[in-house]
Symmetry: C2
Subunit: 144 residues, 2 copies
């Protein structure tokens, strides 16, 4: 029996061509509101988190990602597949401990150590080849 | 100001080639547990809902979808893109009212009327062309 590693669906990461137009879509069509906007040079994106449900630290979001350049991961994704779901982010209690456990289990990691994510979170990506084709992100929120 | 139509991330729908192997992956790697297994002939899938968080009626899940045949929507998705995220399901209070509002707003619908989804829910799909390339499902849980 494995302890439950994933505590919630933290966000759905969506690759978009035009961040402002995509924010407008989720605001006007679905009534979501922007919780944060930031630029993450390390990941090569301008992004926005739109709040869907839950209090800070346990919330879930739609994350809209516009690439800073064509040769970034999200830029290449857009070129190859067009706009759509880029990755899924799940909450974990302790991202470093989760990475150690998953690596011991033979899961292929993109990030061997946590790095900076949205809203001050510590995050790490798992390789889609180990998760049935799904680029999977672990998110330890800043509130913990 | 639009009222918030989407109340939570209900599930991430993932297209898989082998349902049993994919359940095993999410159970052993991430410690999730199967909440339901069913066959949905209308959607052409065998599927499982793996519980991530929340009580019944407000829960979120990983939904694993194995096609019943190659000429089903999920079968075609697998042939074209391989395993990965197929759609995102969001909670709504009233799926029929949501469809009416979205249609009036000019959103392209896949389903003009609610149909049967997982765990007894009433569901409807919106066309990805109206939602930035994301096949989007609205879910009114059976508990309501």
């Amino acid at each position: 029996m494995t302890a439950q590693l994933l505590t919630r669906i933290d966000h759905v990461g969506i690759a978009v061509r035009d961040l402002d137009a995509s924010i407008e879509l989720y605001e006007t069509t679905f009534g979501l509101t922007v919780a944060s906007r930031e630029t993450n040079e390390g990941q090569g994106v301008r992004e926005a988190m739109l709040h869907v449900a839950g209090p800070p630290g346990e919330a879930s979001y739609v994350q809209l990602l516009e690439p800073l350049a064509a040769d970034t991961p999200v830029g290449k994704f857009l070129a190859g597949r067009g706009e759509g779901v880029h990755h899924i982010g799940y909450g974990v209690v302790d991202v470093a401990a989760a990475l150690a456990q998953l690596e011991a289990d033979g899961v292929r990691l993109v990030d061997e150590r946590p790095r900076h994510g949205s809203l001050g979170a510590s995050i790490a990506f798992l390789h889609p080849k180990s998760v049935g084709g799904v680029l999977t992100e672990l998110v330890q929120t800043a509130a913990r």
